[in-house]
Each structure stands twice: as structure tokens, then as C-alpha cells.
Symmetry: C2
Subunit: 212 residues, 2 copies
DNA sequence: CCTTTTATGTAACGATCGATACATAAATAT
DNA sequence: ATATTTATGTATCGATCGTTACATAAAAGG
């Protein structure tokens, strides 16, 4: 019933080789889930976009749920990575947050891709979507919050921010702003509109950090 | 094919009277759509929650889509109304925004109701959900943005805010924060966590308004 | 009374959902 | 050459989707 999902290419090939590019098919599936959500994407939609038959889909990915989980993993590794590198590489916490939000605005408004974030919008209703799907996305969102928290705590550790700075509250605030930007982007907001939100969020920095 | 949907109770009753409370059934439908989204809620789910048969549902509400539209209208008229009265009744724009956000935090974290906002979370994927559904929610979100904008413009007109104040950018920012709070609430955030976001958003006020 | 009108309950419609059985094809292993 | 292993293509599974036909029940209008 279960089969290993990821062959590290070193594995010698037994049996008939597959006639499609597994990674390319996965990318197509990701884009479809990204645009239509988990519930809104059918197997028929997927097989059409991936240009394979349903038995091939199930042989290669296991199930719709497993395919979604693998697609979100692919998404995490390949989309919007500038957002998180910006967070870590900026010299100050303030610049880190601002670059984080600016990269978010940029990534969420790319016209050649679905707008907003797959992690934020892919499956929000636990009662209906497969619980595992919803929990996985929730866990990834929590990881994003943690990444923000770590960067802010680093700012405190480095003396940039006062020890009284509430890193957790600030991380929650900026993560929430980012989530809101996904819905804003889905509503067709321009990049300028997203950047207006970024400006608003950064206007909070002085108040939060107690800096002049 | 079409039938009038809203009898203002003055209409004399012809034919067999319905045996269920239409408004109560609508409220049950609203709660289900609120919890599970449009796509995630099936007719079977609805008839079970409303305690009526599917022919009764169709006779009374027309279709799943029409029922959703009516349910969102009911939601708008009956849920979270404090949010918008707070916006209009506060004496200053600053207090209006803060009360708006605090009422949002309160409404989105009520334990006896689905968390977050039906308008924000009910149908985000236009490609899959009925287009009319998605457009209707989008329109309602735009109306919310407009309400914020009007209140801020009033602050400018009353001299509370400088004429240089960018009401539209600020309205966009605060609307986005509110949308993010819906996702945050869906992730199980406590009321305290939502209020941390409110504090962050209000910390932006000084920077946005140029006030001390 | 009878007709008209509307609601209810049972039962089912065609379409689509996610997922597979089966036979066949193409590769390696012995 | 034969066996083994894996992928493909066709065709379809039972379940559920939103929706409706149909006969019956309960009210008002004539």
C-alpha cells in the first residue's frame, strides 16, 4: 500500500520508466492547488494540468492528500524563498521585518502566478478539508511565526532592541499582517496597495520598539 | 422558476404553511457556511443542520448559491455589528480604529461560534467556487474597506488628522490587519493574541497620522 | 363542495468525486 | 529466454455532489 515517495535519483531504475517528468508534474499540481485550494481542485483538474492519467498520478504520488502535502513542500522550497532570506540576512531587525514585508508584497503580486500564499489560503476550513491538510498548513504557518520571533529575539540579543521588547507580540502582529496580505492579493490588490500595507505595518515599528 | 425570497410577513399565506422556522434554518445554514466555507458545505450537511429535507431547502431558498448569499446577508446584519458601530460612534478617528479592531478581536474569538469572519474566509478561490459567491464576498470586503476609508476621511474633515494624511493607504492597512486576524483566529489564536495584533496595528497610528 | 396553491416526504436523477482493477507495455534481473 | 518489476491506458468502481419528479398533505379562495 505504501511506497517510498522520493527517490534520490541514485536509485537504480527497475521496471518500466515513467514517461513524464515527476517534478514538472508536481509543479503543475502545486500551481493548481495554489490557484484553487485543496477542496477546489479535483483529480480531473490535476490530471489535465499534469498531463497524466489518474493511475499514473496515484502511482507516482499516492493520493490527492499526499500530492497536496508534497506540493506544499515543493512550494515552501521554491516559492517566496526571498521572503525568508531577506528576514535572516538584513543587518537589523527593523530592516529584516521591512524587507520581509516588501518581499512578501512582491511575491504575492506576481502576475504570472496565483496571487497570495498557498500556505495561507490552501485549506482554511478544518471541518471540511482533510484534517491532515489543514493541520499541515497550520503547522507551516506556525513555523513562519517562529521564524519572525527568532529574528526579533536576535535583535534583542544583539542589543538593537530593548529587553522589554515583546518579540512574541510583534511576531504575531507581523505574521498577521502577512496573512492579511494574502487575502488582499487574492482580491486583486496592486503591488502599490500591498506596499501601502507594508508602510502601515512599518509605521508601527517605532511604537513597538520604543526607538526614535 | 424564480420566486420572491423575502415575504415581509404581511403577505397573506396561501397554500400549506411551512413547518419550520425559515429564519432559524437560515441561521443554521449561516453557521455551517461560516465553519466550513462554501465549497466545504454540502446540501446533505445543510439539510441535517437545518433539520429539513432537500426539497424544502430548495423551495425556501432556491439553491445552494442563493442560500449562501442570503446567509452572508444575514451574517452581515446580525454578526459582528458592534465592529462597525464602534467605528462610527467613537469620537475620534484614532479611537474609532482602535475600537474597530478591539471589537474585531472580541468577535473573532467567541468560543461559541466559528472563529474568524465568514466574509473573509467563506470563499477565497474564484476558480473553483461559484464565481458569483466569490464576487459577492469580495464586494462586501470592499465595502468594509470603504467604511474604514469614510471614517478616516471624516477625521481629516474634522481637522483631527492632517490633510496630508493618506486615508486610503491607512484604510487598506487596517482592513488588511483585520483580514489577517481572521486567519489568525482560525488557527486558534487566543483573544490575547488577537489583542497583541491590535496593539501592533495601533502602534502604527502615530507614524501614519503624524501625531504625537 | 371543489379548485388552487404551497409544503412535505420519498426516491431518484445525471454528473462528478476520489480512487482502482485489469490487461498491456517496457524496463532490469537471472 | 523467462521471470520480475514498474508504468501506462482504458474503463469503471461505489460514494457523494447539487438538484429535481412525483405523489401526497394542508392551507386559502371560489
Amino acid at each position: 500500500m505504501y511506497r517510498s515517495t522520493q527517490k534520490k535519483s541514485a536509485m537504480p531504475e527497475r521496471g518500466r520508466p515513467r514517461t513524464f517528468d515527476r517534478t514538472a508534474a508536481l509543479r503543475q499540481a502545486m500551481e493548481l492547488f495554489w490557484a484553487k485550494g485543496y477542496e477546489g481542485t479535483s483529480i480531473a483538474d490535476l490530471t489535465a494540468a499534469m498531463a497524466i492519467s489518474s493511475p499514473s498520478l496515484y502511482a507516482a504520488f499516492g493520493s490527492k492528500e499526499a500530492l497536496f502535502l508534497e506540493a506544499t513542500d515543493y512550494y515552501t522550497r521554491n516559492e517566496g524563498t526571498e521572503i525568508w532570506t531577506a528576514l535572516d540576512e538584513a543587518p537589523t531587525a527593523c530592516q529584516a521585518i521591512e524587507n520581509f514585508l516588501r518581499q512578501t508584497a512582491k511575491a504575492y503580486s506576481q502576475s504570472d502566478r496565483p496571487q497570495g500564499c498557498l500556505i495561507a489560503l490552501g485549506a482554511l476550513h478544518k471541518d471540511s478539508s482533510s484534517g491532515a491538510i489543514c493541520d499541515d498548513l497550520r503547522r507551516r504557518r506556525a513555523e513562519n511565526h517562529t521564524a519572525l520571533l527568532r529574528r526579533l529575539e536576535r535583535g534583542v540579543a544583539e542589543g538593537e532592541l530593548p529587553t522589554s521588547f515583546d518579540s512574541d507580540a510583534a511576531a504575531t502582529f507581523y505574521a498577521t499582517v502577512q496573512h492579511g496580505m494574502s487575502i488582499q492579493a487574492r482580491d486583486g490588490a496592486s503591488r502599490a496597495a500591498l506596499l501601502a500595507t507594508v508602510a502601515g505595518a512599518m509605521a508601527a515599528w517605532q511604537g513597538l520598539s520604543g526607538t526614535a
